[in-house]
């Protein structure tokens, strides 16, 4: 034993010691010996492997034989019994932790530079309530929206998903918490709880999968960044070769453009349809049309009136939102690893109809209000080499018409069309990490052109999430 140790130690020494010309013959000899030893061990291991295999085959065979046979009597069994296939699997763990849900954590943070103070950010002519997420966010270094995701099958019928957003200001919010059916069959899927609505293209995707730091202006102005609701969602996938999906939602209308009107009824509802397919090997596409209707009750908009005073208005009424969306992706022969391109665009059109309370704390004059406004964005993302992508986004809102009725003496419809242009470059060391820079020329405030720059990281750890199209 001691001798063997000594031998291996000297071998090690001989190998690590810089080879001198004089000792090279010895080293060569030693190498040969080691080679011989290695070959010897390899053949032994192979023999062992063979024995293991036969042992496994023997133990697997009876297990299969117990399985109920459904062979019809007419079928003659092959003369030589075919080798039975049994899954090769490790013994499952029987502890409770084996059922723990898949956990994923998205970590995001950014540095934001803006020329204008984002504290008084507003989109001219598009009033939103204070809970809507608009604008570039805080200046300087800040923790972006980190997200903790938990998901697992509940039983043979249901799956549960929860996404908790961790905000930079130490607050938490429930972004998603829903249960959904597993394989309801006939192309049906049912979801209940809090979810991101299936309207449009971008709405349902999580912020960490977006191609730009922020949501398009139209999404900010019309749905406060992203529309999520508490309710039920039913989807049906048609049994056709062309992708054809329909969905309907009924919910509380909790968030902007709704305002949680309360009561027994539903405060919001949506219907949508998606169609998609391939063109050859290299192209794929999807297009959709969505309709969202929500109720608002005394939804508070902070705006400036004609006298230049900041006032609170209360809107009570219905909002109807139409979204037309499309996305087209290209990758040479469908292989996106080296190069790929994605073109994505959406058009949103909103109409509001109801009553507006002008200056709820002061004058408090109420009259009918109607508006029809729209907006669009178009963006292209090009991966020009592995791990590197560049993207350009152009967008505009159309002020449309806004009829304030009698309140027109204090409030005026805007004649300004807010617009923005953004350029981004991102580096993706792996599918789990991304570092991005973005420059934005922001003309969303009339007369206050802003230049913005962002440096952002988005990383995910834990369970490997599969991405939607």
């Amino acid at each position: 034993m001691f001798q063997r140790k000594l031998l291996s130690a000297s071998l090690l020494l001989a190998l690590t010691t810089p080879v001198h010309a004089a000792g090279s013959a010895d080293v060569a000899k030693l190498r040969k010996e080691i080679e011989a030893m290695r070959a010897n061990y390899e053949s032994r291991i192979q023999a062992l492997e063979k024995r293991l295999e036969t042992a496994e085959a023997r133990s697997a065979a009876p297990a299969v034989a117990v399985a109920p046979s459904v062979a019809p009597a007419t079928v003659t069994e092959p003369a030589v019994a075919a080798p039975q296939a049994a899954p090769v699997a490790a013994a499952p763990q029987s502890s409770d932790s084996a059922f723990n849900p898949a956990i994923s954590l998205i970590l995001a943070g950014q540095y934001t530079y803006t020329k204008r103070d984002p504290a008084n950010y507003a989109i001219t002519g598009f009033p939103v309530p204070s809970d809507a997420e608009i604008g570039p966010g805080d200046r300087g270094f800040n923790l972006g929206e980190s997200e903790l995701g938990l998901s697992a099958n509940i039983d043979h019928r249901f799956r549960g998903v929860a996404n908790i957003a961790l905000h930079g200001d130490d607050s938490l919010s429930v972004e998603e918490a829903y249960v959904q059916t597993i394989g309801l069959d006939h192309g049906l899927g049912l979801k209940a709880g809090r979810y991101l609505s299936g309207i449009g293209y971008l709405n349902e995707t999580h912020a960490h999968t977006w191609d730009f730091v922020d949501a398009p202006l139209a999404y900010q102005a019309f749905v406060g960044g992203q529309y999520g609701d508490d309710g039920v969602q039913l989807r049906w996938l048609a049994p056709t070769d062309t992708y054809l999906e329909f969905g309907a939602e009924l919910g509380r209308g909790r968030a902007f453009p709704g305002s949680d009107a309360g009561g027994n009824g539903a405060g919001g509802g949506a219907v949508y349809g998606h169609i998609g397919g391939d063109i050859g090997e290299s192209h794929s596409w999807r297009a959709g049309l969505s309709y969202l209707q929500t109720k608002a009750k005394e939804q508070t908009w902070e705006v400036a009136d004609l006298a230049g005073n900041s006032v609170s208005n209360g809107f009570t009424g219905d909002t109807r939102l139409w979204i037309a969306d499309f996305v087209w992706k290209w990758a040479p022969m469908g292989n996106a690893t080296v190069q790929n391109f994605k073109l994505q665009g959406e058009y949103l059109r909103r109409s509001q109809k109801g009553d507006l309370d002008y200056d709820t704390v002061g004058a408090n004059s109420s009259d009918a209000y109607r508006s029809t406004q729209s907006g669009w964005y178009l963006q292209g993302i090009y991966q020009f080499m592995p791990q590197w992508r560049v993207g350009l986004r152009g967008e505009q809102l159309q002020h449309g018409t806004a009829d304030y009725g009698l309140n027109a003496t204090n409030l005026a419809a805007s004649s300004y069309d807010p617009a923005r242009a953004s350029l981004m470059l991102d580096y993706n060391p792996s599918e789990f990490s991304r570092i991005r820079v973005q420059f934005t020329r922001d003309l969303s405030r009339e007369g206050l052109a802003d230049s913005q720059a962002f440096i952002q990281y988005q990383m995910s750890l834990g369970a490997h999430g599969a991405h939607t199209y």
């Binding site: 075919a82 794929s284 599918e431």
Partner: protein
Amino acid sequence: MKKLFAATLLIAAVTPASAALKVLACEPEWGALVQELGGDKVDVTLATTALQDPHHVQAKPSLIARARNAELLACTGAGLEIGWLPVLIQQSGNAAIQPGKPGNFAASDFVQKLDVPTRVDRADGDVHPEGNPHIQTDPRNIAKVAVALAQRLEQIDPANRATYQQRAQDFAKRWDAALARWSAQAAPLRGTPILAQHKAWTYMENWLGLQYVDALEPKPGVEPTAAHLQEILTRQKDRPAKLIVYAAYQDARSADWLAERAKIPAVQLPFTVGGTPAAKDLFGLFDDTIARLLKGAGK
């Protein structure tokens, strides 16, 4: 009422009643195997081609539509399709192909997996806790999967049981003959040291007795870097590899760069059915793989 009945009849008549079993194969090798075993009793569509990286495929609308109608999903498993298959299955609204159902077939469940990591850490790259998923590079695995897949076809489509059994026997006979031929042809390759772009050839190395030296990717799933290639080039002096292998779907630039400097051939292998013009079916896949390896090794 009568009209409605007539309409139902019409629909039933238009829909082929004895339609072939609809199979969605995640990778071309399983598509080809289902075709071998099922003949005209199966209608196979492929989710990926040999020119696509099976790790990174988009859950695109056309695939969701195909998953919706599939009666059998024939995939590799072992985490290979984790980035896209769960979305397809979830969005398909198809009960038959849910995990655990007979319609969800994972080939890697039926072979002994290699490269099962003792340490699972993303710092080591895109590691698969279940083991190396590229099982199709060893034809002996194909034989094992064929047995299991034929049984699965019989289970799902008992009406055509006899056909599947007969075809499976026929395939096994032809495959055994081919295996013997390949083993004889590839004998000179035994012990040949190779470099691989991605650690995708473990099973083939094991089969042919090739000696794996290193991967061009610094970590599995991470694109080759100039620094890492330079490192391999330096190590060539001590542990010289005789050839570099890479799959048809991979970018050849790194392999070519290294091949030129190390003065060893870079050999493109089909990796799956359709990867090269000669790899038309499963037999062609291994005929061509061995032919290319022999040519690369100068044997």
